[in-house]
Symmetry: C2
Subunit: 326 residues, 2 copies
């Protein structure tokens, strides 16, 4: 049992701790996706007094059907991977709060995080890993069938639709990239665009034109996703005539964008035009002692392993910052 080697340091019996309002933590992590959870493991291993505030454990990972591109696992489903991440963080005595949202941060040499229930937490450094949310269609069936035919990430999930008929919603770059990813593996791809033309880059549209199994339906919006256990079709309605018809598909990729969960630090931190927090290569933001990692940041490509790597960087940067401040 190699694990016993470290028994002096980490006792699995130690469980999540309550936050203590009178303590000044070394670091508090906001977010419980791969970036936040990896940051937590690194902070605890560096011996920091750390806490983590999580709205949804696992973040977008929890909504992903299957994962084949996280090194170490040939195949793992989203919920399983979140369980493993959770268990790994759980072994440490980290202050923990689930189901809560940070509404604002008061900056200073000690920073104060205000939560939606009116409580607050004091800390020397903050690691913001609050992620992005997929922009949702907001139609019937969408939430119920997420992970069961409703998908948002073609890089993650396209291979699971090999040989199937699938719809893609959205005519921007991510919609077309998604349709290309799917055209390679799916039997048929129907791209549904509410405008009369595509808004994606010309080069992407040309590439999509090379595939014979793609049909584009212009001037239509999706009004409902059909199916009980799994997606079996979508209802679309003409923007012009209001006429409705059904498409028989086994999957639907909703590619109408992602929204960074950065509203609570608007005005405090430098952001780009998409509302992503701008970070340098060590995950530092525009304010000393505030670090950010993962999908909420300006780092390109949104993937589990990338977010994890950024979370580790942010934690090590926070540890270095504390070392130079004390």
């Amino acid at each position: 049992m190699e694990i016993n080697l470290s028994a002096g340091l980490f006792t699995p019996e130690k469980n999540f701790l309550q936050f203590d309002e009178s303590t000044v933590y070394d670091t508090v992590i906001v977010g419980g996706g791969p970036a936040g959870l990896t940051a937590a493991v690194y902070c605890m291993r560096k011996g920091l007094a750390a806490g983590i505030i999580i709205k949804d454990m696992g973040g977008q990972v929890a909504e992903t059907a299957g994962i084949e591109n996280y090194l170490g696992f040939r195949y793992v489903n989203g919920a399983e991977l979140v369980d493993k991440f959770r268990e790994q963080v759980l072994q440490f005595g980290i202050a923990f709060r689930e189901g809560a949202t940070v509404t604002s941060i008061q900056d200073g040499s000690v920073k104060r995080l205000v939560l939606d229930d009116g409580t607050s937490v004091s800390t020397r450094t903050v690691i913001i890993a609050s992620g992005k949310s997929w922009r949702r269609l907001g139609v019937k069936g969408e939430r119920e069938l997420t992970g069961r035919g409703v998908a948002y990430c073609s890089t993650c999930d396209a291979p699971f639709f090999a040989g199937k008929d699938v719809a893609v919603v959205g005519g921007g770059n991510s919609g077309i990239e998604s349709a290309i990813d799917l055209a390679k593996v799916a039997s048929r791809v129907v791209l549904v665009q509410n405008l009369d033309s595509l808004t994606a880059d010309r080069i992407l549209v040309d590439r999509l034109g090379e595939y014979g199994n793609v049909e584009i339906i212009y001037g239509h919006g999706v009004t409902e996703i059909l199916g009980e256990e799994r997606v079996r079709g979508v209802s679309i309605r003409s923007v012009g005539t209001g006429e409705t018809r059904n498409l028989e598909v086994q999957g639907i990729f909703i590619e109408i964008g992602l929204v960074p969960n950065s509203g609570f630090v608007k005005g405090l931190l430098e952001m780009n035009e998409s509302g992503e927090i701008v970070v340098d290569s060590a995950c530092a933001t525009s304010r000393p002692g505030i670090f950010a990692a993962g999908d909420v940041t300006s780092v390109p490509f949104k993937q589990i392993i990338i977010a994890g790597g950024e979370g580790a960087k942010a934690a090590l940067s926070a540890a270095e910052y504390i070392l130079t401040q004390k």
Copy 2:
């Protein structure tokens, strides 16, 4: 068997392929550590015609005793994790070469990689993930006991020395940081420095002074690492008098630096003063179509999950580059 969902795309029976000298690959990856192997998985999933040239499978991971900070695994040893990475890459039909070294790259719209056996490989893009090598002491017992008491990464391995006596070699920043990491968990830490003073930053030296269980031996070098199955001591020799004595320790951390494996692209790519390849946040180097990822680059902090994340970024950048060039 969820894996069957993707059977149309990935057949596990497909094995590693030979490189074909007449083919122009979409991308060729140089290096088989976490960055290179993650890049391989992402390239194959993007449908690229890819190859990978590996000197040592697993890179530094293969030399790491135990890993507790790679999310998804509470504890895994280096060799096991390398096996999992290998198996995950093996499922794809990737051109593969092990035990070979790239000696130079001829740039152009098609790039030519020249190998140490005189063969060459043509490709549109290159992902350099050749890593770093620990600078070794070069003394008896070092190679034989690596992973069995001889360690190089305190962030990775310090917790395994809880309650033990351990030596650290090197009085620069990484030596002192390592000694601090170890002072928190080890019973006793002996820092061996060949000069008469430490060269680390003042603040780090001050921090180290706060620990009562650290002894510093100046003006001595390590001449041999003792032990059969595991480390049981080290021989040190006075630089002044030439006198030799033994220290009884169960571990030794060698912290005399890391050397980036970037010699084969010297003059071709922009590097920093440490010989690391300079990359932007999307892993692009100073030459179009040449990307770099992991420890060989200027990205701070050298960790498995960080290297993996960077490998994914490099692969997605290469895929984007190819899409815009074709």
